[in-house]
């Protein structure tokens, strides 16, 4: 979810305003997703949103405080969003949840608890996530469990595999043509869709539909 601060700057506001706008887009996205799943023949069963990266935690404390406030309020709002309960979406958090203040952790806990009985769809929220960090943790888990270190064993210990979620198929990124290490290990055969001239708060339902159509039309050969 990239481009909030740039969006704010372009309109002459502070960065935090951009993050609030971004949060609104996130809530809209949940609604679009819910509608898509109920109306189209195929379902998008898993959706992951990258809310906060490990590198973001190095920003200046003032901005971080604003960002944490936005996150807490957003998580709480999601817990009371009708779409989540109607579509029975389970929300889970991945990433290193370290360095977060108590109120954010409390909101995370509450959201997970509120939705833990649902199983029709899963929304993963990556907070404090770093791609290389994920690989490092997976490696350490493999070593701790005494297994042989090879590609398969590491693939079994990524955040997604540990939650029994299949690896990501399509990544949509706004405002930049980079992956920044998102889902690094799992992106082996992931299709990428960049919207480099749109910022996150400008995302529309149509962009998402285009991304999915583009994915449907791609030929995935797997090396052959």
């Amino acid at each position: 979810m990239d481009g909030n601060r740039r969006y704010a700057k372009l309109r002459g506001h502070k960065a935090v305003w951009g993050h609030w706008k971004g949060a609104t887009t996130w809530l809209n996205l949940i609604d679009w997703w819910s509608y898509f799943n109920s109306s189209e023949k195929q379902e998008v069963k898993y959706m992951t949103l990258w809310a906060l990266s490990k590198e973001n935690l190095q920003r200046n404390p003032e901005e971080l405080a604003g960002l944490f406030a936005v996150l807490t309020v957003t998580f709480r709002s999601i817990a009371f969003t009708a779409s989540i309960h109607r579509s029975q979406v389970r929300v889970r958090f991945i990433g290193a949840l370290t360095g977060l203040p108590q109120h954010v952790l409390g909101a995370i806990d509450m959201l997970e608890r509120e939705t833990e009985n649902y199983s029709r769809a899963v929304m993963l929220v990556a907070v404090g996530y770093g791609g290389r960090d994920e690989v490092l943790r997976a490696v350490q888990d493999v070593l701790d469990s005494g297994e042989d270190l090879n590609e398969e064993s590491v693939s079994r210990k990524t955040f997604c595999s540990k939650l029994s979620i299949p690896p990501v198929d399509l990544i949509i990124r706004t405002s930049e043509s980079r992956t920044s290490g998102f889902m690094l290990w799992d992106t082996q055969s992931t299709e990428l869709h960049f919207l480099h001239d749109k910022l996150w708060p400008e995302l529309t339902a149509r962009d998402c539909i285009h991304a999915i159509e583009s994915f449907a039309s791609r030929e995935r050969r797997g090396g052959k």
């Binding site: 980079r178 920044s180 990428l192 995935r220």
Partner: protein, 292 residues
Amino acid sequence: MESLVLISSSVFQFLQWILAQLRITRLAQRSLLRVLAAGPIPQHVGFVMDGNRRYARGKGKLVQEGHGDGYLALRRVLEICLRLNIRCVSVYAFAIDNFKRPQQEVDALMQLAESKLLELCSHGDLLQEYGVKLNVIGRRTLFPDSVQAAVCKAEDLTKGNNRSILNVCMPYSSRDEMTTAVEDCIREALAKDVDYFTADDPIEGITEDTIDSHLMSVKRGSPPLDILIRTSGVKRLSDFMLWQCCENTQLHFSNTYWPDFGLFDFVPIIFEWQKSVWFRRQDVLFGGSSAS
């Protein structure tokens, strides 16, 4: 008298201009490269050379000929990069998954690799001319013996060069590279820590940077990846340099097939990159306002 001289000199200039027109394309290309080289230049560019087979099918040629044309495109693009003083170029030549392709095609690719590697590294050819060191990165034990021998010989021929680096990734898989790097880290950690069986956690010294420094490409001197270009319109990473594609690597997906890729496809990509570098500098100078 003077007017005669003037007229004849202007006619002469006109003739020179006509002659110059014939050479204008090469000159225009060189000027373009010089304009680009005036701005910031990426240190490390990666290419996923995709689309050889589709190109061949489109032109009614054999798939092997498509790969041959792909090799010519590689030479072309490599020369452009070296002219621009790009310090390191990585190309995805063959994936470990590609062994699943029909045996005939794999055999043809092996033959191509064997002959062309030696050609690139021979005296007077491209790599020697620009002082480029060749690194072949990947699990080469999967290759037939003749190819392995050619690889060793080619690396040997260029090992004294130090102006630039060419990483040919074959047979390569990024996960394989990462797993190998981790194994090396552990082996090193174990070798250093004599009392492994009594120490609590000898592996705790392994961090992201340790793994980074043990990657095959980084061990042989490659700087961090700045731009990754994938041709033929496919928008995937396909297990190429996943670890290196972090934070600042710009991904570009070009719709041309690899054998058709040339200067006029490459130049806009470099311009885009220069623009993004400029924006990043602006942000750093005027107080971070770009999103991560």
